[in-house]
Amino acid sequence: MSEHRNVERVVLPLVVGGLLLFLWHVAVKVSGTTIFPSPLAVTKGIRQLPHLGAYVADSLLRVGFGYGLAVLLGVPAGLALGWWSALARAANPLMQMLRPISPLAWMPLAVIWFGVSNVAPIFLIFLASFFPVVLATMNGVRNVPPMYMQAGRNFGLSTAALIRRVIFPAVLPRVLVGLRIAFGVAWLVLVAAEMIAVDSGLGYMIIDARNAGKRYDLVIGGMLIIGVIGLLLDTMIRLLERLKFVRWAFHE
């Protein structure tokens, strides 16, 4: 049974991926295009790239800082907004107004404020991932079953202990879902931010490959690398959902 499921989870996606690569290859050969590269040409182009490792590292660093800051500030902010409903009522209109503004709209301001530096994309990534984290945490707190809090109070917990020992563990699964969503947005924004504000990273690599000589093999190579790294990091966050003290909310 479990062997059967492993086949479905690993082998089938690999078959689909291989099939697509094959179709891509055939399509390039049959059409005889000179602009759109074949899978082999993409592999060759990426291998020749001298800065690839540094670009990946730069991108990961920016996401690490921006996203990390959003988590560090967003979770406590969400806990506070969920706990004190007056605070939430005060902040909610502002948050609902800021939330639909694409983080990319902040780009001109980010460049004025921070110049061409790492700070501008970090700021944009922070903006993009902060709200999903705050909202997931806040809604999590509001949806903690009242009987957990009642039980916590009954055993004589202070408010601080109640937040630490009951509210926080109770919202953790929802926070993790928020972290995943926020990470997806952060990774999306990163590429766009790197196309403007900096001169390194995977986003820069794509725009530079196009500008510097229509190197579409590198454009596509960059896209694939972004996709693969995104998938890997998402899988890592999903592994957190298997931690024993949050599993209750995800399985059965």
Partner: protein, 244 residues
């Protein structure tokens, strides 16, 4: 009197839920609050537990007025009250944050044993059956050594066979630990099987309609004529014929 409920009245807005409730509960006594759905019996238990302030009246315990929840009196919900992020032993130890580690360990071991969860110390609630979760919640309550337990339809979510077993378990624990128990139920049979006294509440607004002494020693024989007579008396009180 351990628990004294004096002239309790409760209204939510213009809806009167409880009226003029008078009740005294002796130390070590097992009292069931019985009534139809919506009669306010859970509200009454929440008032006695200190979770809701009443509109009128007072509750005193050992002569001391109740102003809020207190670890000396623990409220037990249906099985969903256990913390799903903690293991069995962490749940039982939840309220033991003032005790030394050694005492904590000792109490956890004692109550794991008492409620029959040996071998499941490291399990999480989702790995337990409904009855086991309920026993876990009772163990978590008992571990802080309260003198009163409030149980709010604790077996309502269990299947009928497990429910019967749980009643026997609860009585065994009650005999071992001699707590004062206030037990809310809408199940007439359950109240007659468990309680020293059954307090029958009327439909909304809830009032004390009658108090029935269950003068049958434990273990109770469910085909004993006295059991059947008392059960039928309560059926009559609630206005039901005991025929299906």
């Amino acid at each position: 009197m351990k628990v004294e409920i004096r002239n309790i009245g409760m209204a939510f807005g213009s809806v009167r839920v409880l009226e003029n409730i008078e009740l005294g509960v002796n130390a070590g006594e097992f009292v069931c609050l019985l009534g139809p759905s919506g009669c306010g019996k859970s509200t009454l238990l929440n008032i006695v537990g200190g979770f809701i302030p009443p509109t009128e009246g007072t509750v005193t315990i050992d002569g001391e007025p109740v102003t809020g929840p207190d670890p000396r009196r623990i409220f037990v919900f249906q099985e969903r009250g256990v913390f799903p992020w903690l293991t069995v032993e962490q749940n039982i130890g939840f309220g033991l944050f003032k005790q030394s580690d050694a005492e904590k360990r000792e109490r956890i071991a004692h109550y794991v044993q008492l409620v029959g969860l040996r071998g499941f110390e490291k399990s999480y609630p989702r790995e337990l059956s409904g009855g086991m979760k309920q026993r876990l919640e009772v163990a978590r309550a008992l571990a802080v050594n309260p003198d009163v337990l409030y149980l709010d339809e604790p077996f309502g979510a269990l299947d009928s066979i497990t429910r019967l077993q749980m009643r026997r378990e609860l009585l065994r624990i009650w005999h071992a630990e001699r707590k004062t128990i206030l037990f809310v139920t809408h199940d007439i049979e359950e109240s007659v099987q468990l309680a020293d006294r059954v307090v029958v509440l009327s439909a909304r607004p809830g009032r004390v309609q009658s108090i029935v002494n269950i003068d049958i020693p434990h273990p109770r024989d469910l085909s004993d004529p006295r059991y059947i007579a008392l059960r039928d008396e309560i059926f009559g009180e609630i206005g039901l014929a005991h025929q299906v």
